[in-house]
Amino acid sequence: MWDFPLFPEQASSNAQKVDALMLFEVGILLFFTILICVLILVFSLRFRRGARVDRSHPPTHGKAMETVWIIVPLLISIVMFVWSTRLFFELYEAPPDAAEISVVGKQWMWYLQHPQGRAETNELHVPLGQAVKLNMTSQDVIHSFFIPAFRIKQDVLPGRYTSLWFRPTKVGVYDLFCAEYCGTNHSIMIGKVHVMEPADYEQWLSAKGVGPSQAEEGEQLFVQHHCAGCHRGSQTVNAPRLEGVYGKPVPIQKGKDVGFVTADDRYIRDSILMPKSEVVAGYEPLMPSYKDQISEPDLLKIIAYIKSIATRETSQ
């Protein structure tokens, strides 16, 4: 109970980099705080009333000095800005080999699903050294996915996808907090991140038997919700085929003009829930909305399926 850490554990490739910048800034903070305190103390003692010192012509301004104390903070700020912004941009550019894990926040739990199919609640198992990209959304209010040991955090929003990536560097169990206040049980919306040896991770993945992968589940849902009826096969209705679409620009009819939108997670989600808002050029806006019929985790599975057929050729 009385264990007393002063520094959080470093368990991701990002953690060391953030800590290095933090130590640099703590150094700056200590330097200036001590400088100001020492100046105040020295002046207070030396120029206290009754002390015999030279008080003639106290300076009322000093261009040179004032210039210095504008330039120095400016330079320090620029260093901090450049350094921290570079780290920040790295955080949002996941390496191409990253494994993608789906995250859905919900009052008050985390639902996570691995691409191989296994889903878990408030527990996240990841292999050591492997980059992991999280695709996150919320089913109700704003939550925030926060792993202190990895120095990462990202808000999880309803109606929108956000993402984040990390590369764990140390085997262990780490806290996963919700950092955005989300209502009554905000403080117990806590999960655990288990960083495992890759072999242990493989074993864990298949421990419950090899189930359908996320994309396979998505395909089942695709059929169940009658998406397949129009978007593939018989073609009784004129709807675009989805093979090879993911990640490509799609022509959208906007009044008389045609604009292009990338078929990413957001676009697919919106097309399922609000199909009339961005209709592919050349098609009629016939599709009904699936709002309130498909849950957030299922939407993620359908997206995973459409992503999995991104490399397939369309028949058109």
Binding site: M22, I40, F43, M80, S84, F88, G183
Partner: protein
């Protein structure tokens, strides 16, 4: 000054002379309105402080054991935030000290719109009473930030009533700001040029600009919240086509500049106290004056630094980050200038000076940790943790409240005509400084360790630091309660302060204490700059006093 052409032989009647309730509630005297505000912000400060005390007690242990439910805790931190920000920090210095001093400092009889000034207090009280009413009958659990869609769709508490209370209170702020701007432009005594204005007036001028330009945006955002909750119009809720990030933009567009509404008046107070107790002109007058205006302007451009991890574009984050670094520079200028003002002075360490020096130290830490939050990669880690809580308490409590208390002690002789017991004053300054650091410094560590804010229960490894924080809070509480007692007790003595107990040079010290109803008995003409102190003369006087004392 000018020779009295018509001699009015009425005895000078001070503004406190009349005692009827009606004379207070219908007053248009800026000094009396200031006192009305002083009484009300004090009540709200202790209500908000009581909420803070309960929260600190709850957080002494990792389990929830002081308050029965997490809901009770959530309502408590919401009310702590709402009351402290909207009903204490925003109005404290401008409405109490600003109202009282601004006309005196520029040689005016009153503010430009005395009745609007009284109206602003009534508007404030309507909002405040609603705030207390909400607290008693159910409360609000959204946090003072009212983030959507939690506040609009999921919270089943009195969000609409709270939004209306905040909306109403905002008008009080706008009225005060308007009044100050017009007063500074039109009511300055002959000879009181812009660069002869005390820095107190400059800071309040800058503050008023923010109040007038920013507060309407707050009003709009809380009204949109109410509309969304009542009619589901779909502005913020994604389920009906809205955007929750939009609310955050609107909210912080006011609430970040609001931080400067709270702290610029603190700068105002410190810029008066330090030259007086160092007995020398302030260093870099124009730099400090312009820095106030620069902070007010920049303050409007940095709201997005509250949203680095909100899902806003990372390029937007980059712009807000660099602008946030830039806003630190005028603040740094001020800290360096105050410190340089001590050089070659003849320093006295009475209570106001102790508060002012403490302010510089705490504000420095608060400001520099602000740089860490402006640093994108660090902010990602510490956002919404206790690091942020510690940072803004250093600025808003370590800065604003220290300055407010320093100002109350500095001008208490002027306001009440009484001197307070110096030894108790020094003790309170010491307790507040020590208690404050013990309360909030551990929270920086807690935040970096990863303890999120607004947690009713927490991981056991965070306990030691939380216990330290709670211990500090109890010292801080004693430091805050002490002045309430000795300042009130000082009122039982006859007025003994004299017009100018500190030997200060502002116009407000040229009139008797407490000032007469009309402030000045004859027209004021200003012929010199502010802060005409001479350290050498102060030394000569001191040596003379010592000789008299020893003889």
């Amino acid at each position: 000054m000018s020779a009295p052409a018509v001699v009015v032989e009425d005895p000078p009647e001070d503004y406190l002379q009349e005692h009827t309730l009606k004379s207070w509630l219908l007053t248009t005297d800026h000094k009396r309105v200031g006192i009305l505000y002083m009484i009300s912000v004090t009540v709200f400060f202790f209500v908000g402080g009581a909420a803070a005390t309960l929260m600190r007690l709850e957080l002494m242990t990792p389990q929830g054991d002081v308050l029965a439910t997490p809901d009770a805790y959530n309502r408590l931190f919401t009310m702590h935030g709402v009351i402290m920000i909207f009903f204490f920090l925003v109005p404290a210095i401008p409405s109490v000290l600003g109202n009282f001093l601004l006309p005196l400092m520029i040689g005016a009889r009153d503010l430009a719109f005395p009745k609007i000034n009284l109206l602003s207090w009534y508007v404030y009280m309507v909002g405040g009473v609603m705030g207390i009413w909400i607290m008693i009958f159910g409360g609000v659990d959204t946090g003072w930030t009212f983030y959507t869609p939690f506040s609009t769709m999921y919270s089943n508490t009195m969000v609409v009533t709270a939004a209306v209370a905040v909306f109403i209170t905002g008008f009080s702020s706008i009225l005060t700001g308007l009044n100050f701007i017009v007063t500074v432009h039109t009511m300055r005594a002959p000879g009181m040029t812009w660069f002869r204005l005390p820095l107190f007036v400059w800071s309040h001028y800058a503050t008023s600009l923010i109040m007038v330009l920013g507060t309407p945006v707050l009003a709009i955002s809380v009204i949109l919240i109410a509309l969304e909750r009542l009619f589901g119009v779909g502005i913020f809720d994604p389920a009906i086509g809205g955007d929750p990030i939009l609310f955050q933009h609107l909210f912080w567009f006011y609430s970040h500049p609001a931080v400067y509404i709270m702290v610029l008046p603190g700068f105002a107070v410190v810029s008066e106290i330090i030259p007086c107790f160092a007995r020398r002109p302030i260093f870099g007058y124009k730099f400090i004056a312009f820095a106030s205006v620069a902070i007010a302007v920049f303050g409007f451009l940095v709201w997005g630094h509250h949203m680095f991890v909100s899902g806003q574009s990372m390029y937007a984050g980059t712009i807000f980050s660099i602008l946030s670094f830039l806003v630190a520079i005028p603040s740094a200028i001020k800290v360096f200038n105050w410190t340089a003002t001590l050089y070659k002075g003849s320093l006295r360490f009475d209570t106001p000076m102790l508060y002012a020096l403490g302010f510089i130290g705490l504000f420095t830490i608060g400001g520099l940790t602000g740089l860490m939050l402006a640093s994108l990669a660090i902010d990602v880690h510490v956002h919404d943790t206790y690091f942020v809580v510690a940072h803004f308490h250093y600025i808003m409590v370590g800065g604003t409240v220290m300055a407010y208390l320093g100002g109350i002690h500095f001008w208490w002789p002027k306001i009440s005509g009484r001197m307070y017991p110096e030894i108790w004053g020094k003790l309170s300054a010491l307790l507040v400084f020590v208690g404050f650091n013990l309360t909030f410094f551990p929270q920086f560590l807690l935040g970096y360790l990863g303890m999120p804010r607004r947690y009713y229960e927490y991981r056991p490894e965070f306990q030691v630091l939380n216990v330290m924080s709670t211990a500090g809070a109890s010292i801080l509480a004693v430091g805050y309660v002490l002045p309430l007692f000795y300042l009130l007790l000082s009122l039982r003595k006859p007025a003994n302060a004299g017009p100018n107990p500190w030997g200060a040079t502002g116009l407000e010290w040229q009139v008797e204490s407490p000032p007469s109803v009309h402030n000045f008995h004859e027209p004021v003409v200003v012929t010199c700059e502010p802060y005409m102190y001479s350290p050498e003369e102060a030394e000569r006087e001191y040596a003379h006093d010592q000789r008299v004392h020893n003889a």
